[in-house]
Amino acid sequence: MAAAESSRPFSGLSDVSISEDIPVEGDISVPIDSSRKDDDFSTLDEPVKETILRDLRAVGKKFIHVLYPKRSSALLRDWDLWGPLLLCVTLALLLQGGAADNDDQGGPQFAEVFVIIWFGSIIITLNSKLLGGTISFFQSLCVLGYCILPLTAAMAVCRIVLLSGSGKVSFAVRLVVVTASFGWSTFASTAFLTGSQPPNRKALVVYPVFLFYFVIGWMILTFSPPQ
């Protein structure tokens, strides 16, 4: 019996599916309209430009959601990490200029900004999971990453203001801009995140978010261009 079996290598599998006791019956349906469906969802035939533009449009839509935080679940439903990556790299590059020429460690460096943003988001996400939040890991990373947008915008404004000089007036302008964008970031992210948290613990979830954006905002405020 064993010899007979070894001569037919797949006989074991056929024995698995067909038993003598249980009759095998059922319908096999072949989807006829599959070709029409493929036309709708296939991205193989379309030009690369369209693919990229569609993704960019999706990222842009989420940017608008951050700027008008009205408790929409778009940021949570179809999350992506392209926007956060884009914002993080932009912010790190904008902050980089100060330290590159000086060769002193006072200014934030690219890797430092990068690590602070991602490590910080991961810590906040883990914290919200530990506190009993029902949000998934990458959804939270997506929200926190997209909500850096106001701070990145503030950084761009700060660089423009610093072009005109770094006196008391420019510092006051920067302080106002950074404070406003810090408040905006915190408000937007809490609007998205607190929906998934137990209602009595919202303050505990918001505190690390506040600290995270505060550190980033403070880094932007203390940035000084190379002399």
Binding site: A2, G12, L13, Q105, L130, P208
Partner: protein, 351 residues
């Protein structure tokens, strides 16, 4: 054949797994590989890969069974056949275990989160009251004080301290040669929290104090609240007098609170002195270190002190060999003078 299956039946008692009957049926198939579908419950998660693996396992088990059947006619001792059945079972078990390990590894991340979840089970009001209580020493050392085993507050305080330290480093213009400011700040704060907690826990274990590692982490973590407050104020307002005042007042209060909690859980004078002395010295010195290591004024002071200090040190270092050379040469010269025509200076010897 019947004897062989009989010997296998004796082995079934040793199998404690819930799906043990599954394996038995496999081996009892007497050479052919037939799986009874009724015994394949859904909990085993049978996908197509599992089927392949099962097929593999079936073959191994079937071969073992077939070999056993061939030997059955030889009239061997029953125990021998039992041993071979066990071999087949062992191989099958091993394959199963390997698959199970792989699957469980994927779940490990979320499992760990679930393990930690009870330590984060707090309300905002509780955290607030614990923060306030960390400044209020309780004078009750006859009865063990209650220490909440919770990690949310301590963890957030350590991260706050990291942020404050980063601020202090940036404003003082600290330059760290190897490593980043961020890494240093995180390393310092977490190193202090985890390191000192484990050290005090070790001491407490030695002197038989009633405290767990979790309570120690929580106690020391909330003790860092004082540090956060003092450093936040003194990194921005540069008065030495103010710092020493706050150091003694706030740092002292938070230290006293920890000391009182530890005192109430320790018995005996020497253990109390050892434990509380170590903790208070470490805690207060850490605050002193954090303040002065990353402070702008002291940074400048150190620079100005280093200026005059460096020059004499360098001069001494340069002069010493010359001096000794001269003196040795002089003494040598004195010794050699009777035998030479020179005046005893080193020059003669160099020629």
């Amino acid at each position: 054949m019947s004897a062989g299956s009989g010997s296998r039946n004796t082995n079934t008692n040793t199998n404690t797994e819930p799906w043990g009957s599954f394996d038995d049926n496999l081996i009892q198939g007497s050479g052919s590989a037939v799986i009874d579908m009724e015994n394949m419950d859904d909990t085993s998660g049978s996908s197509f890969e599992d089927m392949g693996e099962m097929h593999q396992r079936m073959k191994v088990a079937a071969e073992a069974a077939a070999a056993e059947d061939d030997n059955a006619d030889d009239g061997e001792f029953l125990g021998m056949k039992g041993l071979k059945g066990q071999l087949g079972r062992q191989v099958a078990d091993e394959v199963w275990q390997a698959g199970k390990r792989q699957a469980s590894r994927a779940f490990n991340l979320y499992a760990n989160i679930d393990i930690l979840r009870p330590y984060f089970d707090v309300e905002p009001v509780q955290v607030r009251s614990r923060l306030v209580e960390s400044m209020i020493p309780v004078r009750m050392i006859n009865f063990p004080q209650k220490i909440a085993g919770e990690l949310y507050g301590p963890l957030m305080l350590v991260f706050t301290l990291v942020a404050i330290l980063l601020h202090g480093m940036k404003t003082s213009g600290t330059v760290i040669r190897e490593g980043t400011l961020m890494g240093t700040a995180i390393g310092t704060c977490f190193g202090y929290w985890l390191g000192v907690s484990s050290f005090i826990y070790f001491l407490a274990y030695l002197v038989n104090a009633q405290i767990t590692m979790l309570q120690m982490l929580s106690l020391l973590g909330y003790g860092l609240f004082g540090h956060c407050v003092v450093l936040l104020i003194t990194y921005n307002i540069h008065f030495h007098f103010l710092f020493y005042f706050l150091w003694l007042l706030i740092g002292g209060l938070s230290t006293l609170r920890m000391v009182a909690a530890l005192l109430s859980r320790t018995v005996g004078k020497t253990p109390r002195l050892l434990l509380c002395g170590t903790l208070s010295v470490l805690h207060l010195l850490f605050l002193l270190y954090l303040h002065f290591a990353y402070h702008r004024i002291v940074e400048g002071l150190l620079d100005s002190l280093e200026g005059p200090n460096m020059a004499p040190m360098q001069r001494v270092a340069r002069d010493v060999p010359e001096l000794t050379l001269n003196t040795t040469l002089r003494t040598l010269g004195v010794l050699v003078r009777p035998h030479t025509l020179g005046d005893g200076t080193g020059r003669l010897f160099k020629i």
